[in-house]
Symmetry: C2
Subunit: 339 residues, 2 copies
């Protein structure tokens, strides 16, 4: 059995501002990443190769907040973070605050496989990239006109851009391969208008990215500072491994722990998925390629979609709780609709 799930970020735009044409472009981008990663698994490839492939496709797509088309810092530059983890050997590699590496997920993997280290940042990470024969690109490769508009919009004090989703977005993938090995990968440009040097949860093993065979693989997206403080990805794994929660329960509980005032968070957990639903706001969410069997033996088939997501401008603890309560129901509905 093999399976892959991806996400395209937790950011949100009002549905009204998303044209059918743009929605179709997002769907196509998610489908390309999902199919690319899944094809690796179908050919007998490893989960590591599958998640790296899916994330690389999303990095190259300017619509998603990672690689080309990344969200910009307050100085108008792109600073990129990425991590990958191998759930079999518990190896991991990550890079943060790199400015000239076309596909940060590939550099994260190289750190895992070729260095003595787990996390390299900034110019030191790029020195390693050069030693490893990566061709660096100018920073403007990452910058798109839309991201620049989004930055300017944020800097004018508009709290949520209507130009693009994922002002706090990220891309990620989790996969299970035929050998039973889990892997997770996450890549991001971080928050729009972030301070240079700010590192979010994506490259932090245990916060935004984690994988452990026999337990779960997690790639998170949302307001990274909340995920770091909660050690969110490891929290999910620990709840499954030590408390006997189902992955779905663990993710929901962690989501509750992470989600506080003014915080929107989603987690994509291997062999399952997690999403937020509301009727006002649109975001990319977890996308799962079949067949995935979750703890309670629900099989989820191929799904590529944009979901309606909670508006983080008005969320508070009570509302978040109520909102989270919808998830299982929704998951079941999806399952029924595609079986």
């Amino acid at each position: 059995m093999h399976a892959i799930a991806i996400h395209g970020g937790a950011g949100a735009v009002p549905r009204a501002s998303l044209s059918a044409e743009r929605e179709q472009r997002f769907r196509a981008g998610l489908a390309a990443a999902l199919d690319g990663g899944y094809a690796v698994l179908e050919k007998g490839g490893t989960s590591l190769d599958a998640v790296a492939t899916a994330v690389r496709i999303l990095e190259d797509d300017p619509l998603f907040n990672a690689g080309h088309g990344a969200a910009l810092t307050r100085d108008g530059a792109a600073e990129l973070d990425a991590a990958i983890m191998d759930g079999q050997q518990m190896r991991a590699g990550a890079v943060a605050s790199v400015r000239h590496v076309k596909n940060p997920i590939d550099l994260a993997r190289r750190v895992m496989e070729k260095s003595r280290h787990v996390l390299l940042v900034g110019a030191g990470a790029e020195e390693f990239a050069l030693e490893e024969q990566f061709a660096l690109v100018p920073n403007h490769y990452f910058r798109t006109a839309e991201r620049l508009q989004q930055l300017q919009s944020e800097q004018r004090g508009e709290r949520m851009s209507e130009l693009l989703p994922t002002s706090r977005g990220t891309v990620g993938a989790v996969a299970l391969d035929g050998a039973g090995n889990l892997a997770a990968a996450t890549s991001t440009g971080g928050m729009t208008n972030k301070r240079p040097g700010r590192v979010g949860d994506s490259p932090i093993i245990g916060a935004g990215t984690y994988a452990k065979n026999g337990v779960c693989a997690v790639s998170a997206t949302g307001h990274g500072e909340y995920f770091i403080r909660a050690v969110a990805a490891h929290h999910v794994c620990a709840a499954v491994q030590y408390r006997g929660l189902s992955l779905q329960q663990a993710v929901r509980e962690t989501g509750l722990a992470v989600t506080g005032p003014n915080c929107l968070g989603n987690l994509s957990a291997g062999e399952n998925m997690f999403t937020n639903i509301d009727d006002r706001i649109v975001t990319m969410e977890a996308v799962v390629k079949r067949p995935v069997v979750v703890n309670d033996a629900i099989a989820i088939r191929s799904m590529v979609y944009l979901t309606l997501s909670y508006d983080h401008r008005v969320v508070d603890g009570a509302v978040a709780h109520q909102f989270m309560g919808k998830v299982k129901h929704t998951l079941e509905n999806w399952t029924e609709s595609v079986l």
Copy 2:
């Protein structure tokens, strides 16, 4: 009740190479940090202030691998990492790969208290420092003649320096204040001869630093890459909170998970301590200021010491296990000896 524990790093030197005079200097440095932190608590100060004070004293002491006297990168520069966490509000701040901040622990705290972020790295972290009125220092402020010798020794292929302990060292403190609030702080120059841009476990919330009221506070020291992959500090807390292990059991188990071939790791956990004992190698270990009540109601009084530590050159899984088995016995002996 209030308590503080500190550590001065996991690195090791052969006991034979440590003169009585040098040992006395190490003991005095540890005592100064311990007394400084404890004095904060005695005056009714917060655990956050106590751990910051203790760590700042160790950063200023050239014998310890943090701040002045930090281990050097392969290029001969100092690159510093630090983190602090507030177990009451689950706030955290961290900096990594900074080169001009005299007391990185103070900047980590400022990130926690004055920025929207948790982790800032490199030049962006220093930009924040300048905005916050920190006076930057030249990088050579951190560099000592002994650290330069240690770097050259490592670069000549000598696997363990005999000049200074803590070639993989770090300093850290955990404290419990009268209000029942836990805090943890860790600061380091990282591994001697590390690649520029390498970030270890110290500034990673959940890996090298973590605090959660009612559970524990953890500051780790050792081969950071192993601690990152194991999400060691959060692993300890999760084992206590979710599995009902005593802190001592949780730390021992995590130590076993972290310690593999060629890896030396120690954890200093709030309300308790953890150390490695052998008869060949010397290192600074956890130091606890009384009174501390651990789960099984053992009271540990004031202890300032250098312990004998396991030689990570020859450790392997089996030996590590046998070795770890000594810890409880030793802890009990210490307890008895000071009660």
